[in-house]
Symmetry: C2
DNA sequence: GTCTATATACTGATAGAC
DNA sequence: GTCTATCAGTATATAGAC
């Protein structure tokens, strides 16, 4: 796991501590979700009192925000900058999902928090709505790019296909977690995306 | 919403009360999940004290169990008995998903609890593992039935397709909740299943 | 930067009156 | 069958010493 850009840089002294805390928070929130996961348990894992932890993050919500931002930065870095276009982005998705397999705690975190975040009164509802809209838009653009280059099967509805790619991705992760990694997520996702294309994925 | 079989029958007196409680519990657990949702709030909604509620369900976990059983019975009743075979079951899925659109609280409950349930130490982990295995098996059987009747496209992998149908279903619901019902889940699901078949869905 | 101590609130569950 | 009262546990967050 690499260190995302936003966590490197100038405030190196206490940023190291912050990174430790974020890592511990990932573990705790992955296992129990945001609501149930407690600051005390996060603090224990980094050998800090609960009050000591709150010196670095003023509230539970801000800590969770840091966790999510960290994960997004990490994913973006994995996809590469600038972001690949068209079919290349879809290839990146498959690689990303395969990579996520190696950090099940993070996958669990994403799955659980996405579900919690559907509630309108969840502290991070807006974050998840925006994130979903963004990812959906990105995927749609990739499909339209492929279509413009004759790489898309004739009767594919780009909007529906974009939704389905993301939905399949998320849903396969739920099942993978439930079945304790009993199948290959990436290969199922690749198989579906391949049916949309005229070129090899 | 009809009343599932398991909630009708002999103990009609207090079963009415139990049903009220289960309905309220659906609302509460849908909004906040099992962990965060409180018995007190459920009790308030049915005009009962928290202790009064615990007379009907001895623990929070038993209440949730009742909620889930109720929902499964309701879905099974909707699909019809005996359960349809092959392509007919898949048609039932599409109708079911369309119907779920009319009770977003239940959809939210399922989405949230499925995610919570992936955690090995969740009180209902086993329930969700078993349920997933069952649904997966059912879907696989339907696909193999279709295959045996020449209704399946030639290079479809039944196991992968079964996983994908369920995953797409679940994932589309997450997005639908997040986007506040901005698209037609059933039509996206139907579109995917149709690509697997040689007959009209 | 980290601690102890504490304020305040809410949790699930139990005991026992009516 | 429903209540009040209460227990023991846990939560986030704050105040202030060091």
């Amino acid at each position: 796991m690499t260190t995302p850009r936003s966590l490197r840089g100038s405030y190196a002294k206490s940023e190291g501590r912050r990174q430790e805390i974020v890592s511990a928070a990932v573990e705790v929130f992955s296992a129990t979700g945001f609501h149930k996961g407690s600051l005390r348990e996060v603090a224990d894992r980094v050998g800090l009192s609960q009050a000591g932890l709150l010196h670095h993050f003023p509230s539970k919500e801000r800590l969770l925000e840091a966790v999510l931002t960290w994960r997004d930065d990490d994913s973006a870095e994995r996809l590469g900058a600038p972001l690949p276009e068209g079919v290349d982005l879809l290839r990146g998705y498959v690689q990303l999902v395969e990579n996520n397999t190696r950090t099940p705690e993070l996958m669990e975190l994403h799955t659980l928090l996405s579900a919690e975040g559907t509630s309108a009164d969840h502290p991070l509802h807006d974050y998840f709505v925006n994130r979903n809209t963004m990812v959906l838009g990105l995927t749609l653009k990739a499909l339209e790019h492929a279509e413009a280059h004759g790489q898309l099967q004739p009767d594919v509805d780009c909007h529906s296909a974009a939704r389905s790619i993301i939905a399949l991705w998320d849903g396969l992760q739920v099942q993978w977690l439930l079945l304790h990694g009993d199948f290959d997520i990436a290969s199922d996702l690749r198989r579906y995306i391949q049916t949309l294309l005229t070129v090899q994925l």
